[in-house]
Amino acid sequence: MKPPRFRYTAPTLLEEALTLLANFGAEAKILAGGQSLIPLLNMRLAGPDYLIDINRIAELNYIEEEDGYLAIGAGIRQRQVENSALVRQQSPLLLEAIEQIAHPQIRNRGTIVGSIAHADPAGELPALLTCLRGEVVALSLRGERIIKAQDFFTGYLSTALEPDELLTEVRFPWIPPQAGVSFMEFSRRTGDYALAGIAAALVPGLDDRCFEARVAFLGIAGAPVRALALEQLLIGTELSERDLTLAGEAAAELVSEDVEDIHATTAYRRSLTMELTKRALRLAWVRREHEKV
């Protein structure tokens, strides 16, 4: 299990990286944290001619509090975000999602943006970005594109990114402080890819009914799943057990037969998703009360 031959470079300027991508994008892979790419190389399931290592581009190392969203640059490791005081205080949902990614050793290397670019349908961050209606910044010599999460994830391990584009930033919208949130997944062992997972943010209105709901799933289809109909079901409710059951049933319908695997039949994954949805929404709603006090 040794990687095949490739040619390597590690530019220090963003401009250089974009120029290289403009010239070799079709045959090149971007190396960021490498925690998904290098296993694929070691198993010789990927064989790019060129690797462009962006780890030395200092201008990609930023976590910034912007108006309306948290901006994370492509150089930032998952663990840096996990340990960021800003995130710990202001984005508990992001923190909860990151804590469920693999293990500390992986998070010390793996990047936030890399995980988005890899677009694993069972990955935590693509689902979270989808849940929050986040955006990504794709840069090329041709210019900048801001792509909405719903348009970015196009299928299994595939995105709207063009071969000459570099994903430089991901933007997680802020959630209203009174919202209750929950990121929950079922996995076989600690750190495994989830058999099913959910990201949920519920914003209570003045009448303490659900005013706004954002829900997305991971691991249940070929791409992260936005649960628009489910969200509509929740709005205006008090998240009663009956509401939760209806939401759970709606969630089960989102499970695709295409992701049946050795760990979960479709029937099981549906049941799991139903249960997960109920538990996560119940928890999120309880947390909203906690936040409000």
């Binding site: 040794k2 095949p4 079922f186 062992r189 058999l195 050795i262 760990h263 099981y268 049941s271």
Partner: protein, 797 residues
């Protein structure tokens, strides 16, 4: 005698080295001029090889050698059949490289040697093999009596072996018993999965004609013997060393794996050291596996819950070849009666070829399957008669006064299945109290009120350990007073450097750290077998003990002569030998060792002191009198057990099942273990705990999933789920000690014990938790998706 080390939790002598990263595993060796190898493996489960084109691979810069079957000359011989048996009509073993047919995904097809492993793998990508696919036999149930798809074209029905054993008259019992039940049980494949894969480094020294191989193996001496035969070398010109071995668990007792022949072959041919290290992907598809069996059982019991008769017909998946004969199913057959007084038993099995990785023992070796079946029977009796599960077992136990107990079956070693000692009742009582059973029943009731499903499971077993034929030991006091010990077994983490040292230290009055144990080197021990079947402490330990006793006798004789004292007054303590009541006038063991060797030239402080003490006197006659039996304080001894010794145990666990998600969590785990007298309780408990973790893996996490094309679809650590620290619970381990009368130490094996009853108790616990769903677990391993379907889907849907 001073401190007694036997029975003490002595800290391991091997640890500081391993903890500093100074261990030496096979891949840690980088010899000057060394090349690296990689193996091209079959991507198909069954196919005819039409053509192999190696030209492009040969042309790749950095490639030194590409071997196919055609290049092997007279080395192209099937691997030896390691354990033959009359019932094994159709044995088949594997060639080092497939010649015209491949029979499992992973079978070796070509062997590349290059400057490094990276280039060697590049070359594999350039080898072009044309295959003509053949029908695949992947499923055990469909393999047997199959007339169209044959793993070996000349083996009808894919049947390798057929064995029947019977005790008493089960049919007569079935005809008259009140309760007769028929059931089927299925156990899937699993695998040893040591953290260090297999590996070989081979060096050929032309001038000396010496072949040295470092192999991550559990049996270096049989490997040495075989390599000498294969390469037509004298045995003393072949040295096989098992250096530090990163776990074996049975998988490394198999020989010959193809690479164990191909690597030295390439080293001889290239006149350069060659290294082959198995990577994880290879380990999944080429290291032997085990466990796959299908049982059809019929059993009869009476109103009191006494098991009257069992008839078990089972199929054993042996994979594509039978290198290890029928040892595994034979152990299953013999282990099924377990601790119970079963007088009418019919056992019949067929060992069946499939297009999958060959089968040889994995820790437990056929026993977990047998215990699963028997313990399911016990639970069923309890349920049918509304009796307590502990009580049913107690009523069926062989009493502690009934030993030796002859089960009436022929064991894997050809000897009787005859239990030497035990007290099963005592073990179960300890278990019951450690589980706080009465209290649990209340907790369980209370939890159900809150929608929580708690269950308690029990698993009892008897394990044949310490089989022969023999092991040997050399014990020698060196002139610095430290003691050299060598034996032919190997060490894969069982603490032999410490436990064997404890045995010697007790005899010679030294501390364990003064005893230097060597294992796994064919140059240090000519005769030997290997470490498997929970036999090292029992068999090699007894040989070492006997050799140490001999050295002590020799030292006593010599000291009594030098001190002019009666032999019974000679004492050993703190590395010294002295006359009772006169410890001031003592010789160190080193000085006595020098005195035992009548050389003119002796060196060092000990030699000088000896002269100063003026103890050496001239003597008439030969310098080395015949009764001294050769120079030095040294002895060689062999120990050969009369038959296997039978350890036993009772494990129990409390689990919580979440029926909605199919997830199961352990709340408590208790293991009561009887391996006779315990040399080092810390080590035994470690062995038991590790075994339990593997058992939990085998019950709920680890399974090898083959598709109908014979492809292993989960050949990675992402999908083959070894339990981690968050899945394995805290474990309570306690002991019962019924010494074995079969060996001088009174010990029985402990290595495999932990793993054996776990699948059985897990099923028992899940059933108990889900009693309201009327669940009956009959397959292993479980996993959440399967458990969920057992709970919620109608049978057959």
């Amino acid at each position: 005698m001073g401190t007694r080390w036997f029975g003490e939790p002595v800290q391991r002598l091997e640890d500081p080295r391993l903890l500093r990263g100074k261990g030496c595993y096979v891949d840690d060796l980088d010899l000057p001029g060394q090349l690296q190898a990689a193996v091209l493996r079959s991507p198909l489960a069954h196919a005819r090889i039409v053509q192999i084109d190696v030209e492009a691979a040969m042309a790749l810069p950095g490639v030194h050698l590409v071997l196919t079957a055609a290049d092997l000359g007279d080395v192209l011989e099937p691997s030896p059949l390691l354990v033959s048996h009359d019932a094994l009509d159709q044995p088949r073993t594997q060639l080092p490289l497939a010649l015209d047919e491949v029979r499992y995904v992973g079978e070796a097809v070509a062997f590349v040697v290059a400057d490094d492993r990276y280039i060697a793998e590049d070359a594999l990508d350039l080898i072009d093999v044309t295959y003509d696919p053949l029908p695949v036999v992947a499923d055990l149930a469909r393999a047997v009596e199959n007339t169209e798809a044959l793993v070996h074209g000349d083996v009808p029905g894919n049947q390798a072996a057929h064995l029947v054993q019977q005790v008493g008259d089960p049919d007569a019992i079935f005809a008259s018993a009140t309760h007769v039940v028929r059931e089927s049980f299925a156990i899937e494949r699993s695998t040893s999965m040591p953290m260090e894969g297999r590996g070989v480094v081979a060096r050929w020294e032309q001038q000396e004609g010496l072949l040295t191989c470092w192999i991550s193996t559990q049996g270096p001496i049989p490997l040495r013997n075989g390599l000498a035969a294969i390469f037509h070398l004298p045995e003393h010109k072949v040295r096989v060393i098992a250096p530090d071995v990163g776990g074996g668990f049975g998988g490394k007792i198999m020989l010959f794996y193809p690479e164990e022949v191909l690597t030295p072959f390439a080293a001889i041919q290239l006149q350069r050291p060659v290294k082959w290290i198995e990577d994880r992907r290879e380990n999944f598809i080429s290291a032997n596996q085990e466990r796959g069996q299908l049982h059809d059982v019929e059993y009869a019991f009476d109103e009191q819950g006494i098991l009257l008769a069992v008839s078990d017909r089972f199929l054993h998946d042996t994979g594509a070849y039978t290198p290890y004969g029928i040892v595994v199913p034979q152990i299953t057959s013999c282990s099924l009666p377990g601790p119970y007084r079963l007088r009418h038993y019919y056992s019949e099995f067929k060992a069946v070829y499939t297009n999958k990785v060959p089968v040889s023992p994995y820790r437990g070796a056929g026993r977990p399957q047998a215990v699963f079946v028997m313990e399911r029977i016990m639970d069923r009796i309890a349920k049918t008669l509304q009796l307590d599960r502990f009580l049913v077992r107690e009523r069926n136990f062989i009493g502690k006064d009934e030993f030796p107990w002859d089960v009436g079956l022929v064991y894997q070693d050809g000897g009787p299945t005859k239990y030497d000692s035990g007290d099963y009742q005592a073990g179960l009582e300890k278990l019951k109290s450690a589980l706080d059973y009465d209290n649990f029943l209340k907790e369980q009731q209370a939890a159900r009120q809150h929608g929580r499903y708690l269950g308690l499971g029990i698993g009892c077993y008897v394990e044949g350990t310490g089989i022969g034929p023999y092991e040997g030991a050399n014990v020698r006091v060196e002139s610095d007073g430290r003691i050299f010990v060598s034996t032919g077994v190997t060490t894969q983490g069982q603490a032999h450097y410490t436990t064997f040292a404890q045995l010697v230290a007790d005899q010679l009055g030294v501390a364990p750290e003064d005893v230097m144990v060597t294992t796994g080197d064919s140059q240090a021990a000519y005769w030997g077998v290997g470490t498997f079947a929970s036999r090292a402490a029992t068999v090699a330990g007894s040989a070492i003990h006997q050799a140490a006793v001999k050295v002590r006798e020799k030292a006593t004789r010599l000291a009594s002569e030098l001190f002019e004292a009666a032999p019974e007054d000679i004492e050993f303590a703190n590395g010294k030998v002295f006359v009772k009541d006169a410890p001031h006038r003592a010789l160190t063991l080193g000085q006595l060792a020098i005195a035992s060797n009548p050389l003119r030239y002796s060196y060092g402080e000990n030699a000088r002191k000896l002269v100063e003490m003026k103890l050496l006197k001239g003597r008439s006659g030969p310098a080395l009198p015949e009764e001294q039996g050769g120079p030095g304080l040294e002895a060689n001894e062999f120990y050969s057990p009369p038959h296997a010794s039978f350890a036993s145990g009772a494990h129990g666990a409390i689990v919580e099942v979440d029926p909605r998600t199919g997830m199961v969590h352990f709340l408590k785990y208790v293991a009561i273990h009887d391996c006779g007298r315990v040399i080092n309780p810390m080590v035994v408990e470690g062995q038991v705990q590790g075994g339990i973790a593997q058992g939990i893996g085998g019950a709920f996490y680890e399974r090898l999933v083959y598709n109908p094309e014979g492809q292993l679809v989960n050949a990675s650590f992402m999908d083959f789920l070894l339990p981690t620290s968050t899945e394995v619970p805290h474990m309570i381990v306690d002991h019962v000690e019924t010494p074995s009368p079969l060996n001088p130490l009174g010990v029985k094996g402990a290595g495999e014990a932990g793993v054996i009853p776990v699948a059985a108790l897990f099923a028992s616990a899940v059933d108990d938790a889900l009693v309201s769903f009327d669940l009956r677990v009959t397959t292993m391993p479980l996993h959440p998706s399967l458990l969920h379907s057992l709970i919620f889907e109608e049978p057959g849907s």
